[in-house]
């Protein structure tokens, strides 16, 4: 009887110890391995800021590796309510870091001296980014047809995402169309 109790106890404690050791080693190695896999940024929200004439993207970095936004290319396609002709801003430098596991607001200037965006206008943006594990340039292509809720300004106080960090790259209209990236 005593023997049974003793060796059951030893077996149980050994089992728990093995569970603890195995869980500890496996969990921390998994964390270390997963912690080096970069994710692709996701545009989770778009707002047009009338006062600054910028389009503000809420960009989520769902991975553990910080991503570096390098530049963006913006294609404006007019809708039915505007007289503004279509235009393209090419390879405007952004230089911004998307920290891991956060949503960052990125404000991109529209072309200077153009009319405000109206409902129905389409803005297509190609964001080029890099990450530390590779020297390649990656890109995210995001198209947005502006709706009523996305028009902001004149006291429109709803600010969407946390971690406000605004870059105001100088809009270089008719920038040289260099074939960089994909």
């Amino acid at each position: 009887m005593r023997k049974t109790v003793l060796f059951t106890l030893i077996g149980l404690i050994g089992l728990l110890l093995g569970l603890g050791v195995g869980g500890f080693l496996t969990y921390n190695r998994t964390v270390a391995e997963l912690g080096s896999i970069p994710a692709s940024p996701i545009v989770v929200g778009t707002v047009y800021d009338r006062e600054n004439h910028t389009i503000v993207y809420a960009i989520s970095n769902p991975g553990p590796v910080p991503l570096q936004l390098v530049d963006h290319t913006l294609v404006f396609t007019p809708g039915e309510e505007t007289e503004e002709p279509a235009y393209v801003l090419t390879n405007v430098p952004v230089n911004m870091v998307l920290p891991p596991f956060t949503v960052t607001s990125v404000a991109l200037d529209l072309k200077a001296d153009t009319a405000e965006l109206q409902v129905g206008d389409a803005v297509a943006t190609t964001l080029a980014y890099t990450h530390p594990l590779s020297s390649d340039l990656y890109s995210v292509y995001h198209t947005q047809v502006i709706s009523k809720e996305q028009l902001q300004g004149e006291g429109g106080s709803q600010q969407s995402a946390p971690a406000e960090q605004q870059t105001t790259p100088e809009p270089t209209p008719e920038a040289t169309v260099t074939k960089e990236g994909q």
Binding site: I10, I13, V21, F24
Partner: protein, 190 residues
């Protein structure tokens, strides 16, 4: 002659090699992560710390089991203990008292060993609840779990010896029921 330190040198060399490699930063990176190095070092460190316990408990358990299964007579077992403990002068001691003297000689080491285990546990818990010490707490947990793995072996041998001593006392009580001295021995061994 039975209490040789055969494995001690092997363990010591392994442990020192691990410490030097970890010190030079050669172990982690490609091969092992820092907390895994800590686990290995904690394991070998505590094996070294509890080496005499492991050795003596394993030896005592083997001897006790031989006596219980009557593969070895008590006189022969006493002779072997005397050889292992050259300084023991009292010739009147019985086998079981000799064995207890042997186990008593490592009792301070046992106390220190379990004390170190508790100390490691406390330091690990303290690091876990210290804000901003996550990296250190991870390393310390690795050391602690490695030490616990070694401590588990020591504890199992400890328990085995205690169990076999109890068996021996029961056997003694069964073989000589009416005599009052056996109660003393059983009490002393149990």
């Amino acid at each position: 002659m039975m209490r040789r330190n055969g494995w001690l040198w092997f363990l010591l060399v392994l442990f020192l090699a691990g410490v030097i490699l970890a010190w030079l930063g050669l172990l982690w990176g490609a091969l092992l992560l820092p907390h895994e190095v800590a686990f290995v070092l904690g394991f070998f460190g505590f094996l070294l710390l509890g080496f005499s316990l492991l050795r003596d408990y394993a030896w005592a358990a083997g001897l006790l089991e031989d006596v219980l299964r009557t593969r070895t007579s008590e006189a022969e077992a006493s002779q072997r203990i005397r050889q292992a403990m050259p300084g023991e002068p009292r010739p009147e001691l019985t086998f079981i008292l000799l064995l207890r003297t042997l186990l008593q000689s490592v009792a301070p080491i046992r106390y220190a060993f379990y004390g170190f285990v508790v100390l490691m546990l406390l330091v690990t818990v303290a690091l876990h609840i210290t804000p901003g010490a996550q990296a250190l707490a991870l390393i310390m947990t690795g050391l602690f779990l490695g030490g616990m793995t070694a401590a588990f072996f020591v504890w199992v041998l400890d328990m085995t010896v205690a169990y076999l001593l109890g068996e021996y006392a029961q056997q003694l009580a069964r073989s000589q029921p009416p005599q009052p001295e056996t109660a003393d021995v059983a009490e002393a061994t149990g």
